[in-house]
């Protein structure tokens, strides 16, 4: 009995390992650049390459990028819509041994340490395939005068106030 259970377990493990390696081997995904250091507010672009290693074309796969915050105390996956990143890309077909290159531009909204990775989902496989993780370090940056807003934001009310005082002064003078 024990032998039978052991035998069946070995068959199951061998099948599962074979299945996983088959799906992972058929498609490979890479992400570029492998690491990024940038400032808050910068716009960067991740490029992902999906390679079909098999002899058959792969149809209708979905590739998407994920970002996880790994800053100590803030560990969480991110909603990339906030970061203006592209949504998932649907790839119609990749020919045998062909590649697909996708781009995911995004605006860096918050500072911290992150990892980015691209995942490909093929509806014919049970296993998603992910790229290696790309490290992303975002430095906090505070700009006090973006777009040179301060001269207008301060100057215009002051200028209007001066015109206001001039009008008031002239009126008073006329009344006297």
């Amino acid at each position: 009995m024990k032998r039978s259970i052991l035998f069946l377990s070995m068959i199951f493990l061998a099948t599962a390992a074979n299945y996983a390696s088959a799906s992972a081997g058929r498609i490979t995904v890479s992400i570029n650049p492998p690491s990024v250091q940038a400032n808050m507010g910068d716009k960067i672009t991740y490029a992902g390459t999906v390679t079909n290693n098999s002899d058959r074309a792969i149809d209708n796969i979905i590739a998407y990028i994920s970002l996880a915050n790994i800053t100590p105390g803030k560990e969480a996956p991110l909603d990339l819509e906030d970061w203006s990143a592209n949504k998932a890309i649907k790839v119609d077909t990749i020919p045998p041994h062909g590649t697909y290159e996708g781009q995911w531009p995004m605006r860096l909204i918050d500072s911290g340490s992150y990892v980015a990775y691209i995942t490909v989902v093929d509806k014919n496989d049970n296993m998603p395939v992910s790229s290696p993780m790309s490290r992303l370090e975002i430095k906090r940056l505070l700009r006090l005068n973006p777009n040179n807003v301060l001269p207008v934001a301060i100057g215009e009310p002051v200028a209007l106030g001066m015109v206001f005082m001039l009008v008031a002064f002239r009126r008073r003078k006329r009344v006297k």
Binding site: I109, V152, A153, E156, P157, L160
Partner: protein, 249 residues
């Protein structure tokens, strides 16, 4: 020509006074705070430049409409309450010319708000998309809307003859017109939301701004909405003319 005299009188009495001027300083202060917050929070906010420009355009339009309503509510009811309408009627100016002059003053007020907002629009929209075309649309549609709401409020003021009541009714109309802003995107996509969006001149203007500034769509997409806004403009001017011609002391 006589309407110009009335317009000049209104401008002297309402705009070129220290109290009247205070409105514009406050407008400028509010726009300063908004622009500064938008731009300094740019890195943190979810807003891109087009979105910021669109929001500031909406705010300027709403401000212009609101001030137009106040001008309108004061136009005849205010004169009656101050006891100055009789003197105005005794002058060699007919009622329609008086109304035209008062609309001219309300339009001047909108023109000043628009002029005050220009530097902010340029600062907020710098480097973004559709800045100039957005400003052109704001100039035209803002003017149409300012005339529409001022004329409606003026007509109401001539009929009701009470500044308080015409102001309250005008504000209710303004809130009703602004109601689509408070609806969620999903609610606005329903048949009810779509109809409300289409028949509401204020919603038509902000949807046109959205289409032009954010979606970069051409004039072809805006024709139906602009036609509806022009329709309201004609209707409100007709309402004003009819209300003023019936006005008696």
């Amino acid at each position: 020509m006589k309407a110009t005299y009335i317009m000049q009188k209104e401008i002297r009495e309402s705009i070129l006074t220290p109290k009247g001027f205070l409105w514009y300083i406050l407008t400028s202060v509010i726009l300063s705070v908004m622009s500064y917050l938008f731009l300094t929070n740019n890195e943190l906010s979810l807003l891109d430049q087009g979105q910021m420009l669109y929001m500031i355009m909406n705010f300027i339009t709403a401000l212009g409409v609101l001030m137009g309503l106040v001008f309108g509510a004061d136009a005849f009811a205010g004169e009656i309450e101050r006891g100055t309408l009789e003197a105005l009627f005794l002058s060699p100016v007919n009622k329609v010319e008086i109304a035209t002059g008062k609309i001219g003053a309300a339009l001047t007020n909108w023109g000043i708000i628009f002029a005050i907002s220009l530097p902010y629009l340029f600062v907020v929209g710098k480097g973004g998309q559709n800045l100039l075309i957005g400003i052109v649309y704001l100039a035209f549609l803002g003017t149409f809307l300012a005339i529409t709401f001022s004329a409606f409020s003026m007509g109401l003021s001539a009929r009701i003859k009470s500044m308080k009541n015409s102001l309250i009714i005008s504000f209710f109309i303004f809130l009703l017109a602004g109601a689509p802003i408070f609806l969620s995107a999903a609610q606005r996509r329903t048949w009810f939301g779509r109809i409300l969006d289409l028949i509401n001149p204020f919603a038509d203007v902000i949807n046109t701004f959205d289409s032009v500034v954010i979606d970069s769509q051409g004039f072809g997409y805006q024709v139906a909405r602009v036609a509806i806004i022009c329709g309201y403009l004609v209707l409100s001017v007709w309402f004003l003319k009819r209300s003023v011609s019936r006005l008696e002391m």
